[in-house]
């Protein structure tokens, strides 16, 4: 499995660069991951989403969808697009050290 050096830390990633071991993530890693995808500063708004994703993943075992974040964490989808431009589902999970949410079949 591929590894990458992010913020001086070696992490395991899949072919798209998403972390494959949620245990390798911690909050210090998030700003470095964010920089990788062009988000230079993590605001309170970003952290609210990232922490929700981590807590929800710990309970549910899967990455929350945009719909779930907007409903359960009370962050409107419009805001998610501002915080994580263009591809919020991918970007928020990338920074939170999780796989991208699965589009159901």
């Amino acid at each position: 499995m591929a590894t990458e050096l992010i913020g001086g830390v070696e992490i395991h990633v899949d072919e798209e660069g998403f972390m494959t071991d949620p245990g390798e993530w911690n909050e210090e890693l998030a700003p470095a991951l964010a920089k990788e995808i062009g988000i230079d500063e993590l605001t309170d708004g970003h952290w609210k989403v990232i922490r929700f994703l981590r807590d929800d993943f710990a309970k549910e075992g899967q990455t929350a969808t945009l719909r779930r974040v907007s409903t359960m964490a009370n962050v409107p989808t419009k805001d998610l697009y501002q915080l994580f431009p263009k591809k919020p589902a991918k970007k928020m999970s990338y920074i939170a050290g999780l796989k991208k949410p699965v589009g159901c079949v």
Partner: protein, 413 residues
């Protein structure tokens, strides 16, 4: 007397009571099913209505015709599920107690969740439609009769939704129908989806995407709708991308029953979180959810409900005797995809195996070709309506296995 209460007499709920009435001792078990709507819809048939291939009489029958003797059917609105007290409140201030509860309340369109789609219905604009209800499909049939060309857009709001192949089938049939009407050259067909491609899984997505290209249907992927601009006749995404339409056919957001959400039993879309192999609720050990009502990582489709109920019935009989549940549902789905010109495709997949090409064996009738257009698959789809009403709903044996089989499939590599 033990009480089994089933909420919803759609595809899953009807199969459950038919299967169990024969298997549970009538002196020991009372079975009740509640549904507010007296009509059973053959929903796969809605797709054919806009093109005049089916009419209303092809897709409706009374629900009571499919409820076996010995099962009490109550036609009433379900108001609240009080899971901690093992009881359900229905309209008229009536409470129904249960020992075991099956939630089979399905999934429904929720156009109100998307600005601009609130008016989808009788008073709505005449160029915004859906075929996900019988009324909607009939209204679209009427509209198509006066269609003279322009931008026809088939649009999907959000995953998951009922029958994920239906929008593709619609655009394939539209392509065919427009050719027959001599309107195809005057029409741009566009398929707009929140998914990254034509379908969810790579092999099928590639094959179906190729078919869109062949039929000169434009694919607009990764489109997350924010609103419909009714004045400017365009759909607008959160990313501020826009698609113009002259005629919009949309699959609105799908949601589980409101009563599930109200009762604290649902996820963010009112689907019931359950074990994906046994359908037992994550919260209550006497509640199961079957069919579209369950939050499962597989298609919301009648075939899935059918395979699920087959396995669940055996498990339930073990469960009530205090035995471990053995039959493990694998997410098996099996869908015909109508592709126009009297042809169709067949896909067969589960939680772990994506739809693959090959042959689908069916004793006495098959084989059907998988992920390939054939006339045989089209006839399979038409024949299925008879099987649905006469075999499947009544809980009789269907000639297809509940668990997916790799027989006849070519591997992904």
């Amino acid at each position: 007397m033990k009480k089994l209460l089933v909420l919803g007499a759609g595809t899953a709920g009807t199969m459950v009571v038919n299967k169990l009435r024969h298997r549970l001792d009538a002196d020991e078990w009372q079975i009740t099913v509640v549904d507010q709507n007296p009509t059973h819809y053959y929903q796969p048939g809605f797709l054919f209505i806009p093109f005049g291939m089916y009419g209303r009489h092809d897709v409706v029958k009374p629900k009571r015709d499919f409820i076996p003797p010995g099962v009490e059917m109550i036609q009433a609105e379900i108001e609240e599920i009080e899971a901690d007290n093992n009881r359900v409140k229905i309209e008229g201030d009536r409470w129904l107690d249960y020992d075991f509860l099956v939630i089979a309340t399905g999934t429904h369109i929720a156009p109100d969740e998307t600005p601009g789609l609130e008016a989808l219905g009788d008073e709505g604009p005449d160029n915004v439609h859906t075929f996900y209800t019988l009324e909607g499909a009939m209204k679209l049939e009427k509209r198509l009769r006066t269609f003279r060309g322009g931008n026809l857009v088939m649009h999907i709001t959000e995953m998951p939704f009922k029958c994920p192949v239906a929008p593709l089938e619609f655009i394939f049939l539209a392509d065919w129908w427009l050719q027959e009407q001599g309107l195809r050259e005057d029409t741009n067909l566009t398929f707009v989806t929140p998914l990254p491609g034509a379908f969810t899984k790579p092999v099928a997505s590639k094959a179906l995407g190729g078919m869109l290209e062949e039929k000169k249907i434009e694919l607009y992927a990764d489109f997350n709708i924010e609103r419909v601009d009714l004045d400017a006749n365009k759909i607008v995404a959160y990313s501020e991308e826009e698609v113009d339409y002259d005629l919009l056919v949309t699959v609105p957001l799908n949601m589980g029953a409101a009563v599930v959400g109200r009762s604290g039993l649902g996820d963010e879309l009112n689907y019931v979180p359950v074990d994906k192999h046994t359908f037992l609720s994550n919260q209550h050990d006497n509640i199961f959810a079957l069919g579209d009502a369950a939050a499962l990582p597989t298609s919301k489709a009648g075939s899935v409900a059918h395979f699920a109920v087959e396995l669940w019935t055996e498990n339930f009989l073990r469960f009530i005797d205090g035995l471990e549940m053995l039959e493990h549902f694998d997410g098996h789905a099996n869908c015909y995809i109508e592709s126009g010109h009297g042809k169709g495709l067949l896909i067969d997949f589960n939680y772990d195996t994506e739809p693959l090409p090959g042959k689908y064996p069916l004793p006495g009738i098959g084989p059907f070709s998988l992920l390939e257009e054939t006339e045989m698959n089209h006839w399979g789809k038409l024949m299925f309506r008879w099987m649905y009403w006469n075999i499947l709903l009544k809980g009789k044996e269907m000639p297809v296995p509940a668990l997916m089989s790799m027989a006849g499939k070519w591997s992904a590599g």
